[in-house]
């Protein structure tokens, strides 16, 4: 229904303006209140917890952690994903409600990280199984980098049109 909203509203006089402004308001509210799924596996999870703590706060950007994928709209994959954990990541991603975004934090989630060579059990990057929106490099990334990554997700959200929320 939300995706068809612009189609119907544009038929009214002045409808284009209404559709654009409603789009902007929705995007603004979504970008300023990204609730993220606590998915920390390895060392990057410690940095994620540090970023969520009091010195570099996530809550001032409106980001609260949720334990369940059904209640979150951003999944921050922090840590090494092994071949045994990969189906779990895919299942959690499928359980998130659209519109959903994924942020790959740290070297291991981007492309295997320091375990790219000579490892029999590490998945070399989560973009082999789920679509990623923002990559935050580092091993582990500084909290300021992670905050910039989350703000980039916010910027990406604000450029989206209502018809393509997914």
């Amino acid at each position: 229904m939300i995706r068809k909203f612009p189609v119907y509203v544009e038929k009214l006089p002045g409808g284009n303006l209404v559709a654009t402004k409603v789009n902007d308001v929705f995007n603004l509210t979504r970008a300023k209140s990204l609730w993220y799924l606590l998915f920390g596996t390895a060392c990057c999870a410690i940095e994620l917890m540090a970023t969520g703590a009091s010195r570099y706060d996530f809550d001032r950007l409106g980001m609260i952690f949720r334990a369940s994928p059904r209640q979150s709209d951003l999944m921050i994959v922090a840590g090494t994903i092994t071949l045994k954990m990969a189906p779990v990541v895919k299942r959690l991603y499928d359980q998130m409600a659209e519109p959903r975004y994924v942020l790959a934090m740290g070297g291991c989630a981007i492309g295997g990280g320091p375990f790219y060579y000579d490892s029999y059990a590490v998945l070399k990057g989560i973009d082999k199984i789920i679509p990623v929106d923002v990559y935050v490099p580092g091993c582990p990334p500084r909290p300021e980098s992670l905050l910039q990554g989350c703000l980039e997700v916010g910027r990406k959200i604000r450029t989206q049109k209502m018809e393509e929320w997914s």
Binding site: L83, Y116, D118, A121
Partner: protein, 156 residues
């Protein structure tokens, strides 16, 4: 007991094939024959002067000619430690379980089976639990194992 007292006591009182290795650490280091392993484990666990009731670590080693199983044991009441290893054949590595003495060896022996292929006799449940469920590509930590998706470290 100090290192020398421990070494002397064990060499005197154990009747089996045992050999001592010289080392610089404060713990004595022995090699025991794989058939005498269970008897040795029972001896150091039950003897009132040794009382080694804590198996700290059990790991397997693959030197290219043979397999070795290394047991690090420690005693809580008497506060001394000991390292002992057994040497196994490279083609058919088999060892008896020490679960009768230290039940903690359960998962360590399962790990040795899964990653090295060392068959452990009389183990109640020797199944895969570390590698993914649909793993059928062999025993990864052997030196002669080659994997499909493994990217080798580039030589300079």
């Amino acid at each position: 007991m100090t290192k020398d007292e421990l070494t002397g006591y064990i060499m005197q009182h154990f009747s089996g094939r045992l050999e001592r290795i010289e080392n610089d650490q404060p713990e004595p280091y022995f090699i025991v024959h794989c058939d005498d392993l269970t008897a040795f484990a029972r001896f150091i666990h039950d003897d009132p002067k040794l009382l080694m009731n804590f198996l700290m670590n059990l790991s397997a080693v693959d030197t290219k000619e043979r397999f070795e199983m290394v047991y690090n044991v420690c005693s809580y009441p008497l506060k001394h430690r000991l390292y002992v290893k057994t040497v196994l054949d490279r083609d058919h590595p088999e060892v008896d379980t020490v679960m009768g003495v230290w039940p903690a060896a359960n998962w360590y022996e399962r790990e040795a089976w899964e990653l090295f292929g060392i068959a452990v006799r009389n183990h109640p449940d020797l199944t895969r639990f570390l590698l993914p469920d649909d793993w059928n590509e062999g025993h990864p930590l052997r030196k002669d194992w080659v994997g499909k998706d493994v990217v080798p470290f580039p030589e300079r």
